[in-house]
Symmetry: C2
Subunit: 810 residues, 2 copies
Amino acid sequence: MEISSTFDNMTGLTHDRPVQTSSFCQQFASVDAAGNYDVMNNVVIPTPGAPDPRAQNSLRQSWEMNYQEAAIYLQEGENNDKFFTHPRNANALSAYLFAHNHLFYVMELLTAVLLMLLSLSEAPAVPFLRLDVYVHASLELLALAMVAFELCMKLRWLGFHTFIRHKRTMVKACVLFIQFIEAIVVLVRQTSHLRVTRALRPIFLVDCRYCGAVRRNLRQIFQSLPPFIDILLLLLFFMVIFAILGFCLFSANTADPYFSTLENSIVSLFVLLTTANFPDVMMPAYSKNRWSCIFFIVYLSIELYFIMNLLLAVVFDTFNGVEKMKFKSLLLHKRSAIEHAFQLLVTRQRPDGVCLKQFDGLMRFYRPRMTARDRFLTFKALNHSGATMLSLQDFYKFYEVIGLKWKARRIGEHWFDDLPRTAFLILKGINLLVKSKAFQYAMYLVVAINGIWILVETNMLNDGVSWTHVVPWSYIVFLTIYGVEVLLKITGLGPLTYFSSGWNLFDFSVTVFAFLGLIALAFDMEPFYFIVVLRPFQLLRLFKIKQRYRNVLDTMFELFPRMASLGLTLIIFYYSFAIVGMEFFADVVYPNCCNTSTVAESYRQINVTIGNQTVLKEGYYYLNNFNNILSSFVTLFELTVVNNWYITMEGVTSQTTHWSRLYFMTFYIVTMVVMTIIVAFILDAFVFRMNYSRKNREPLDDPEDEKGIVFETEVSQTEALQTLDMYKHTLGITNLSSLQDMCVALERSGHSSLVFLGRRSRTKSDLSMKMYEEEIQEWYEEYSRTNLQPDETFHRELDSPEASATNSIN
Amino acid sequence: MEISSTFDNMTGLTHDRPVQTSSFCQQFASVDAAGNYDVMNNVVIPTPGAPDPRAQNSLRQSWEMNYQEAAIYLQEGENNDKFFTHPRNANALSAYLFAHNHLFYVMELLTAVLLMLLSLSEAPAVPFLRLDVYVHASLELLALAMVAFELCMKLRWLGFHTFIRHKRTMVKACVLFIQFIEAIVVLVRQTSHLRVTRALRPIFLVDCRYCGAVRRNLRQIFQSLPPFIDILLLLLFFMVIFAILGFCLFSANTADPYFSTLENSIVSLFVLLTTANFPDVMMPAYSKNRWSCIFFIVYLSIELYFIMNLLLAVVFDTFNGVEKMKFKSLLLHKRSAIEHAFQLLVTRQRPDGVCLKQFDGLMRFYRPRMTARDRFLTFKALNHSGATMLSLQDFYKFYEVIGLKWKARRIGEHWFDDLPRTAFLILKGINLLVKSKAFQYAMYLVVAINGIWILVETNMLNDGVSWTHVVPWSYIVFLTIYGVEVLLKITGLGPLTYFSSGWNLFDFSVTVFAFLGLIALAFDMEPFYFIVVLRPFQLLRLFKIKQRYRNVLDTMFELFPRMASLGLTLIIFYYSFAIVGMEFFADVVYPNCCNTSTVAESYRQINVTIGNQTVLKEGYYYLNNFNNILSSFVTLFELTVVNNWYITMEGVTSQTTHWSRLYFMTFYIVTMVVMTIIVAFILDAFVFRMNYSRKNREPLDDPEDEKGIVFETEVSQTEALQTLDMYKHTLGITNLSSLQDMCVALERSGHSSLVFLGRRSRTKSDLSMKMYEEEIQEWYEEYSRTNLQPDETFHRELDSPEASATNSIN
């Protein structure tokens, strides 16, 4: 009896009423049981005597609403959505739910991508993707209509007041409006006009839910801008001073085109800032007077080696601070979200704890696809104190346990423990073999020999590669060795263990690719020959030998998502610049153009007679053009790399006006900002990682580290059965196979309890939590000092203008 | 009477005997008063009864020796000389004293500089500095003889055992030997042979006392090397993989010279690593197949944007750690030096304190040119506890107070307080004027107008600058305004206050330069026209307006010494590479050379007919040669800037062998190391500075900050008189004018006491002290745990092999 009552306490089976009721269920409250509810407080007034089924039903509905709102709060905490966009009533809720699921997100993303891809087909189009005007204009209108629809849903959910207060959404609406009008104009005129506004299309992409990382990057870039601009001004200031100086010193030299006017002087020194015209810019002056090199050495020392690095230092420092602040605000936002959710989950009877029942209700909304067993295990993992309910302190750890993947701890060591004796012995032997150092080093040796082989082989092919159908025997030999290694490892370690290591995955895929290459060679499939040349990537395996490389490559993989989002951010900038470039510079450069400029040489195609043979001498730079979006991207990448960028600039300038330089210079400065941020990011990430491992006296190759975060939870048989019972009878949840499986597993194991392990990979946030351990406590204290108590915050928020507005509507 | 006795205690007038006696005075001990001394302990055995004048005399000599040795210990602590090079006996001492004074240091430096400068005159010489073989070879022999003499002194001071254990000295000796032989060979043959060993000459410079900073830089570079090399290997590895890939993909294209052989492929990708041949290297492949750009984009993204930044991150991280460790070891070394010195200064009677008498004796050796007053004030500044003696804890602060410049606190506020009323009022008015915001902003406005004026004026001179003798009136107007400003400020603030600010000094010198320019213009002195074009630097004053710029420029000035030493380090590398370059590549490139290479264009000088005018089209790259050391330096600077460096490389390669590329590639990698270190240093210094000001919640523009470190000491009249008395009668020091002045000033002021302020500028070490406050305590604890007690350390050191060796010699 006692156990049962405790258990009852834990699961919260008594018909408790929530302390606070979701703002969504006001309708129910007033419609369903008007007589029984205290509308002012939105709380059920208990009917004395036997439970009234009507009241009970509406109580359940009220709880469901609470679960849903709590789940929404937690989602908002996770996504860093501000609470003022929180849905305030049932209408808003339905719009919110419509706009917050993956289907909607995917639609949002596809629409944005479609809009951006349209520029492939709009004039100036990529030749093989050209579409008629009415086709691409109609597609655009369709996509814009979709965006408009999405915005309408958002308006419905946010309410008009919040909608116009939300800056990003307002900008999006304005851009949408302009694009709409322009698309209609294009459709009517049946021809594209000068549409620079297309450069704003990435806004739709940036606003997508899935592009949160890009948004954060952009925010970080804008936050780093003010100090950046200050130093940039210093840079430009020195540039102008030196331009005046250079003009005064070198303009007397008629052989020197770089300093003939003040404008030329400034442009030359701007280009010199990027080193792209060095040492050419110095040569005419240097040939006249050897001491003139001092001017250039001083200029480069100050500008390139000092101020440019200063720029990096300032951005790095700002970046550092911004990263910490971002982490802090995210952390506190999550904490606040948890407090909001907690208030919605506690009952009147026990206002300081959340029972399994409530937690389960929350999780059904928060993670609909989570099994009942995992919901139960997550509850147990949160429940550190061992009490029947989760205190607020327990609940604060919500986001730490939510991503865990639960698995019963395996009792056996190997996957083949259950196999018959002979098989076991063989597999055990293989296991020991593949785990041995000798085997590993033998494989390294094979890879090294393979590498030398490839190098020697390639070096012998002095007159170019000829694709013969004969497969070289060395290829087959090495591939066989690698194939055997992969098979041995898979059998020895078991497929699961094998594929859980990133390095093994890499080995496996390289081997498979090599095999595909062999097939391509054997069956003479020419387009796939490129696979064969990927062979040398096998050599990357050699870098496993040294600790530092493993760390570097591991960190590289950890950084990859963030790097990808930075890359995407860069592409968004590229896109905007490509559109502007196409609108103004499409088809302005061509072979033998630009004869009036100093860089005519690079665009010239002439026949040169050497001996008695006529050879076409090509100046290829006409290929760096803005004729379509793909060419523009390549051109912009070349401008990013900076070397010889002024040839493209001068070419375009000579065909258009002097003002074109503004485009190129602006692009240079923008990429400089983004690149500096990228460098600062890589620096910061690595230094952080290294500091982390130093601070925690934990070698980076700690095998525990690879496994990420692990939580352990022990479940006894009685507990499991009771939980199953509870779920079956009281909560009325039908899909309980996971819980039943757990009970069966417990029985089969013969032990009275089973340990479950919850794992997830370690994130930057986990590292930050450890790094800033002490500061976090300060932040929490500061947070609880400056904020009102959670209850009060909640009430205050409900009393805020929007809340009272929604209240008055109902 | 009581005061007098306390004072007696403080000054230590009683004839105390030292606890330890300097190892130098063993001779005296055994010779002068053999009967009275305990030779084993080197301590005077007191003669009972009346003071024996002989014993007294030798006691004084013994003390003098102690002072000297203590001063040497403190010097070793300051210079970070290891204690095993400490002189051990009287002979060593005299050699030590000979080798440790500024005359010797200057000689050392001049010899090293002379040796390095010789390469200006040796074949291939700078034309106007060419010397005959016998002249420069004799000069070299002379300089080498000087170095040999210096080494002999060192041998005498260190003793043979220590000498051969000191690595740097041994290397120097070997290099000296080789150079000697070579110089003699040159003198005999009367012609220079292939003397690559001249590249080792900078070793003599590096070994100079004054080049300690360069030595530290080099050490730091070498310490950062291991992680650097690891990442470099990764970089080169990817390069080779991509070279094989590129060769396989593009060698079929006959129009593509970049990937025709594997060697070309590797060289092309190495150059691409520096971006110097981008986008040219891509163009032939790109024009055949547009998708081939992916190869180059992937390569650059991995190598240039990822691994190169990784390199910086790793070096930055190592650098950070190394900086901290360096600070730690310096700090502990200083502490140990202080402990050694302290042991030599305490008396038998009071073994835990140092009296003024002993302190004064020490300072007379440590800072011979310090006045008696300053020695007394320094003692007072150290004496925090107010007791009559310095405890070890007090004495630990020795290095913090030693650089202080003492000044009596001025009672008046302005320099003109003592002037008559009218003058005072006028000057007060000027003072208020120049301190007012309005005046400052008016000046900013003038500077800004001047800037715009110069810009517009220069822009109007479209056909080059013509130097007319007519001085433009705007020049005179603005110069007058600046002149008036300078005069007003000097009169208003007083010359001392005015010139103590760096910004004012800058203003002053720019104005003086402008005035000199005016004179040059007016009197038509053509060679000084360059001064006129320096005018725009006035505009730098505008950067005073914004806080961030002031910080940046201040930090820049703080960093300047370190930057200069890094620059010197770079020049030393340049020197070695220049020598090697001259030996192998002198006179290999000339106009119209290199016709077999792909860069022939850049070396070609041809007459081009445009219309009916024949113009000489110059490919100037033949100027980038190794024909003499100055040209080599310029060429190497161009290689450092990297852009188009491969033109120089290919030009030289086509005239010599393929192996020449090794030289250029090695140089690139070496400069990459040094440049990465420089970037890491700037990053580190700025981030450190910003962290410092954040941590100490102290705005960087704190006026106190500008003043640096300030110590205050109050001296009462009695104390001053007593000290004077003590100095006069007991210590027998004659040059007491400074103390007498102090007494006079005290009497004149009418106050019973006077406050003296000791100031020095804040150094990096002071900042580090504050930044690592907590860690420093740990270090000290660790230090006292792992080390023996100071006494024991001392004894242990005396018992070490060298010490016993020297002991046995005597």
